[in-house]
Symmetry: D3
Subunit: 277 residues, 6 copies
């Protein structure tokens, strides 16, 4: 296992700066955003830029854990869905070009008038079938982040998706923080979906139990995302559980902890994780 970062909060920093800095922090992988406006726009990136990136990575012993393309194709406008499809198509092509084995994306929002289970049954096959075929031909895996707001809010949704679309190269970008605050057992999720965990987000959760008793599970402000090591998730326990199912990939720090500036946060979270992996 090794530590990586999702580059989104550092998108304005040139890769020529970012990569050496990351290497110094003990970061060994980047999950690079490839949508328009990011470091590496999958639809426009030049061969020269790719060559430069490869050199930087080789020089600093950093790899790309995945290409991040967090677009939704259901529960959005037709235009957004079309744009999402194009982004993911381009991301798959770029992954193949770069030799990156995983593209991370999202499962979509509930479609209008349907709940999550209904959207999964009615809409997801049509949306993901062509992308999965393309990904399969390209030797690339598609990994859905289990963001609770999307269609794969909980484990029954996960099971439904993989029963409908059982392709071996379709899986998860597993984020334990979304499970923890919802009261879903993280270890149970790892065990049940052991063949589907392609990529892992390292994100944690801090809770305020006094506030919870006033606003309830559906309320706001009783939990917030924190950096790994700065919440209530047991990272040693999570890491051995991941190892136990044979996972040997990245712990990609997703930095959504408003209490830390981007660089400081990544650096300190990497230190925490590197003390355990």
């Amino acid at each position: 296992m090794h530590v990586g970062i999702l580059t989104a909060p550092l998108r304005t920093r040139p890769l020529a700066e970012l990569i050496p800095w990351a290497a110094e922090q003990g970061i060994r992988a980047l999950e690079i955003d490839v949508r328009p406006g990011s470091h590496l726009d999958a639809q426009t990136v030049s061969d020269a830029a790719i060559d430069e990136l490869r050199e930087l990575m080789a020089q600093h012993q950093i790899r790309i854990s995945s290409l991040a393309c967090y677009a939704n194709m259901t529960g959005v406008t037709d235009e957004q869905a079309r744009s999402g499809r194009e982004s993911i198509t381009a991301a798959i092509a770029l992954a193949q070009r770069l030799g990156v084995d995983t593209v991370c994306t999202l499962a979509g929002f509930p479609a209008s008038g349907k709940n999550r289970a209904q959207t999964i049954a009615a809409d997801l096959p049509a949306v993901f079938r062509p992308l999965l075929d393309l990904a399969g031909q390209s030797g690339v895996r598609l990994a859905l982040e289990n963001w609770f707001a999307t269609n794969i809010q909980h484990l029954d949704h996960w099971r439904a998706v993989f029963e409908l679309l059982p392709d071996a190269h379709f899986g998860l970008n597993f984020d334990p923080s979304h499970l923890d605050w919802q009261g879903i057992d993280v270890n149970a999720a790892v065990h049940e979906f052991k063949d589907r965990i392609f990529h892992v987000h390292a994100k944690d959760v801090s809770v305020d139990l006094a506030k919870l008793k006033r606003v309830g599970y559906n309320g706001e402000g009783w939990w917030r995302y924190t950096l790994p090591g700065y919440g209530r998730i047991l990272w040693g326990d999570f890491i051995t559980t991941l190892r136990d199912i044979g996972y040997d990939g990245v712990l990609s720090i997703e930095h959504e902890d408003r209490a830390f500036p981007a660089e400081e946060g990544f650096s300190k979270a990497a230190r925490c994780l590197n003390n355990l992996i």
Copy 2:
């Protein structure tokens, strides 16, 4: 304190049958739906019908605890909002006519593009101000049921509403079941809002903790509404807490337990409550 029922599930049974039956079950109050199509349509009910009702109630020693008019005026279409306003206006008039001191209604859904707190701040004063004025002039109290799907999902919402609209005749139709499954402490809610509890719904909650560990707090199917006495709420504790704040009104059984037919459910829940009050 006494036991009542919300008549909705028995709306097809004539009052001349319903009232004697209820009295036999130890039911001492009716929360009568007064929207179009119900036993007592507030907009059309005749004097003769009212006289008959009064006679039935006197004969069987049953009172009306409130008129139920569960309409929403935010987060719905303009037409629905207008119709809701008319229904509540009519309900207030009918309450005055009948000498019933409370009309139960709802707090509305979140308005488009706003969350609950924003809807409360932006929209509720305009919606409720005229109705509260009318109710005040009519000697009638308005009580909002704390249905979690509406704008008063949790205690911070409640506080916000009553800070904006502090009229002494604006309060709650307090339903503990909505709090319990959300993890909100019922006794804390009673204590904090002791001056606002005008009416109480008796409804309970049954949970499946194994399912919860899979689907999480936001998921479906880990809890369901049951009849009072058939879930995990401690009714003796709730009753003494209500007494402690000086509440001496109805426990109005809201029957949403799919496991019991209407009559059987009301009868058995009334038996449970009458053993405690």
Copy 3:
């Protein structure tokens, strides 16, 4: 739903006394032990005795909810297994003769050198296949009590048994007390095995949490069986959950509460349950 009793603790009292007494306590069904030495020895009972029993039941409006034949056929000596088979065979025949639709029995103990899952896979099909065939031909259902000491200790065992032996007339004599003290969610078990619950044992559990912290889950003396209503199980919740899956059968009080004499215990437990069903 109605209240019954497992007659075992009253086996020395003649049916001519027992049945009128039971009827007076609000007991409407008997789960009668039919092994040798009991009220109704399935292998020897005479037509005259059956006629007398029928008359008593008709006179006191009591039915037989099931014939109880708690024999084990694995994890015991060959002689015990043979005797168990004969008892159950005789019980099925007697059930058909009496028009009783259910025979309650046990799932056996782990076979020597095998754990429960292995015993289920290796031994249960051969043991139960012929009995199930016979029961099917006789219009009788076989119900296994989920006693934790037998092969169906927990829900994964239950699932394994019914995958191997899916006959629709093979099911459970569901006892919530065995689940509760083991930390298994009772409602989850009812929901998952809704088509297999043929009969229900009413038994409860009392715990000593200070002792638990010393002796642990595997230790002795931190829990004991009690009568329904005299432990920590929520009976109202359990009853509505059973109703929710369509169960409308017996709650058969199994009296293993050492703190109550047999008659007093049955009578008081029946009072508790009759206040809820």
Copy 4:
């Protein structure tokens, strides 16, 4: 087991009224306060008054479960200690005169400059030795109520007292409510002190968990005493546990629930308990 009441809240009602009223409520025993000013002043009561009392009790089938003399002899002024000693001495004499086998009293407060354990070791033997000798000679048992404010706040204190003063006629007036809100396991206490439970107070506890998260265990207002059946104690479980140690005495309702008037509270609590014992 049978239901009784501690008469304190009804001390202004003449026994000639109180006893018939109590009998009608299903109350079978009185724990009568015998300090000056109460129904039965142990130091002044006349033979005539006792005769009248005996007649009332015989007529209404009510007994005296104990004489209540809740005086403290440590942690108070010398005058209070002296008065306490005299009251208890008189109570013992009256108990013998009446044929009542138990006098209920208190364990004293911590002495100045000592904590509870120190007070028990240093002061209790001298205080209780002469009273226990007198009680032993009089055939009367002394029972200390485990009020948390006194020296026997918790189980280690109980053990210390009975190691120092092991007289078989020295025991407890066991009140589960004091244990419950302190987080002490009630069943564990019953099991460990099974030979010391001479009398039982039926009192319950209602809690506000949101308040607890703000004010903490030491804070005020997160719990309050309620009537039995109107709090979170499982009375069926407690009753079978008491039976299990052989207790067959009174459940004496101590009415400290501010939400119920005296008579109504006793009546409803008696109904709850009589449905279980």
Copy 5:
């Protein structure tokens, strides 16, 4: 954020030794006791001593996080109160002289015959008004440690104090250990009092749950203070929560863990905290 220590347990070690040693342990700040007999007696310290201290601090890059003057002015003898006032007055003067922005003190004990809330209302304004005025004029903040034995045992007390004395330079020396063992949510306290947290004590809590079940919340010995990182507090979570409210000050290790010698304890606790901040 940076790590500091409260110097009390090392008061016999000369500053010329203590400061270099501390710097080597990764300690960046001292909370120096300034009462008579300590390293730096506020009432007698010479300019020369101050100069030497300043030089040592500059040389070893250590600052003073606060002057500690843990005196009480209510619930004590008049003489103690007077002495306390003088100490704090001197501490404020010394803080100004040293350019230290915070003086840590205590909120007093409950006054005789009053509980904490009553003492706060009746006595605290008179006690703290003059000191706060002086502190304000001196550019110094007063911070009360929330020791549970003092008047600010819980959050309702905190709120009462700051409503009575709302000066912006009046706040808390926030110690999470006092909250944790009392069952008060630490994160809730940080959020609610975010403008009042001037200084933070790093202290932890170890619990014995088996003992708790015997002695209860009020009992002795079920919890004890430990060094940060050696108890059940989640320090990463606490640190991000402090950052979230904008706290960027000291984590001042208060060493009350009887299991570690002074130096070893400070050193190991500093290592734990420095791995997180």
Copy 6:
């Protein structure tokens, strides 16, 4: 305190390799298996081998924390019991020869037809008396690992053993993981058996709460052993509790975490523990 390892998983690696490697990982002690086939067969080891071992240890500053001889002498065949006795006898002799003060062994399994308490009472004195005498004469302590499957499953068993065999040189190889998953409070165990903790195993536990709700406490697969720091045990808390009772010995990593290869696991667990001790 210092970190050690139980060498079992590395038994095929020569000590000349193992010891330098261990020293590099921050490991300061070995718990060496001395049964036939291990690094150091107590029954056959030559003086030359011992000399070599001593030299290696001196050179790399590693000591032997104990000789491990995990044999059982009850609940096994006579042959196994005899062989166990011989192994332990040889281990005691070797310990004396090496100057190692502790031999770790097991408490035996329940004897046929007896439960643990019965086996302890009936069989353990005869089994351990001669070994304890020999150990006492040899200046060696015997320490039983509290493996839950053996006779000392829980604290009541521990107490029974030490009441029967109170020798001061008879104690425990304390493993917190066996207690944790059983729901037994680890700190309570340390406090109660403070004079008996001779050696400590560092092993942790990971749990799957969703699985627990299906399979129950007795079920399989809801917990598994992990390396210290990779489970739910609070190691800082455990370490200060051990220090608190005066324990200053080894934390001997017992590697049963299937998710880590032997060397990697020992190395990472040693890093975790060395950050705390």
